[in-house]
């Protein structure tokens, strides 16, 4: 039996004794843990690949603009009044901003890997996030509807739970409707898992074209340059939730609003 087990891929441990129910349970448990670790490792590897690809591309593009300026300056043209020094300055500033945001992402990623898991209550954190946005909510006259069950404890540190809720909530304000903006926050337990959802009646996301890119680093879906954003928020939410064994889903319709549903654990 042991030989057969090795042939079909047993890798965790092997004992030369009778298999009983308890031992079988332990074997299955160890295997599940190993598979989970391996999956996590593969995901981190993929994230790292994606990160280095983005870093290369984003730093290269202002650098190419700088070499483009040098090419232009080779051509003598007394009629050209463009201030190329100012443009050079803009390119350098863009590179600096990019380096800053890349290093803040790296710092954040190393924090999720290292932090120990504590337990926190969803409603408490939701209330803290709402309070932190109070002046913005009042300024934009956002109606916030709260339907979060009490005693929803999840194994998230306060920073992580707050980061998930805060990113979704501030996106809902940022990309909210200009007329009667409304945000609905819900929290509930179902089949042993805790869920949180954040729904707005804002500008929505074109999911047909963007679903695959939604949680990728530095991706932005609203070409409106007036709305500030770095394309880091949703990627962070996704990383934190996945790292805690949860899942995130989105429903959206352009012009009608967006709803993020998070299975937290």
């Amino acid at each position: 039996m042991q030989k057969k087990a090795i042939q079909i891929g047993a890798r965790d441990y092997l004992l030369k004794s009778q298999l009983d129910a308890d031992r079988l349970r332990r074997t299955i448990h160890f295997t599940q843990e190993r598979i989970q670790r391996e999956r996590l490792q593969i995901r981190r590897q993929k994230e790292l690949e994606q990160f280095s690809k983005i870093a290369t591309h984003d730093l290269k593009s202002p650098l190419q603009n700088i070499s483009q300026i040098l090419e232009i300056l080779k051509i003598q043209d007394p009629n050209d009044e463009t201030d190329y020094l100012e443009l050079l300055g803009e390119c350098i500033q863009k590179m600096e901003q990019k380096i800053d945001s890349l290093s803040s992402v790296l710092k954040f990623k190393s924090e999720i890997d290292g932090k120990s898991k504590e337990s926190n209550d969803v409603l408490n954190v939701v209330n803290d996030v709402i309070n932190a946005h109070k002046s913005l909510i009042e300024a934009k006259r956002v109606e916030v509807l709260l339907d979060v069950e009490e005693r929803l404890e999840v194994n998230y540190s306060e920073i992580h739970l707050s980061s998930v809720i805060q990113n979704l909530f501030s996106n809902a304000i940022k990309y909210g409707s200009n007329n009667n903006p409304r945000i609905i926050l819900k929290g509930w337990r179902s089949n042993g898992s805790v869920y949180f959802s954040c729904e707005d009646n804002g500008i929505g996301i074109d999911l047909k074209n963007n679903r695959d890119h939604l949680f990728k680093l530095f991706k932005r879906f609203h070409t409106d340059e007036q709305i500030e954003g770095t394309g880091i928020g949703l990627n962070s939410v996704h990383s934190i939730v996945e790292e805690h064994g949860g899942k995130i889903d989105v429903e959206s319709e352009l012009g009608h609003g967006t709803k993020f549903i998070v299975k937290l654990d």
Partner: protein, 119 residues
Amino acid sequence: MRKSIAIIDDDLITCRLMEAIIKKSGLDVSVKSFNTPKEGINQLEKEEFDYLFLDQNFRDLSGAEVLKLLPESLKNHLKVVVMSSNLTTENKQLLDEYDFVVGLMNKPLTIQKLEHIIK
């Protein structure tokens, strides 16, 4: 005969600089730039261009995906040059895949490269 070039690139400075070097090249060309694929394709349908200099990477789409969005009617006369920061094998496949993709170009655009493409 005067050649017309459309540029689609989501970096505003890149568009501005590419327009500048094309205008200074002394070649008989006209140039217009567009900041989003949607804007660019809309104009390509209204106005006839000889060349499209297409960026390879947008916020929500890749250059290859933009190529798929180009209306059939444009593919007979438009010559597309895909611009990229690094020429990967994936990009090189675009040359084989689409007849109207006539070249790949590493940025920045130089007058030599422009002459080579146009002539």
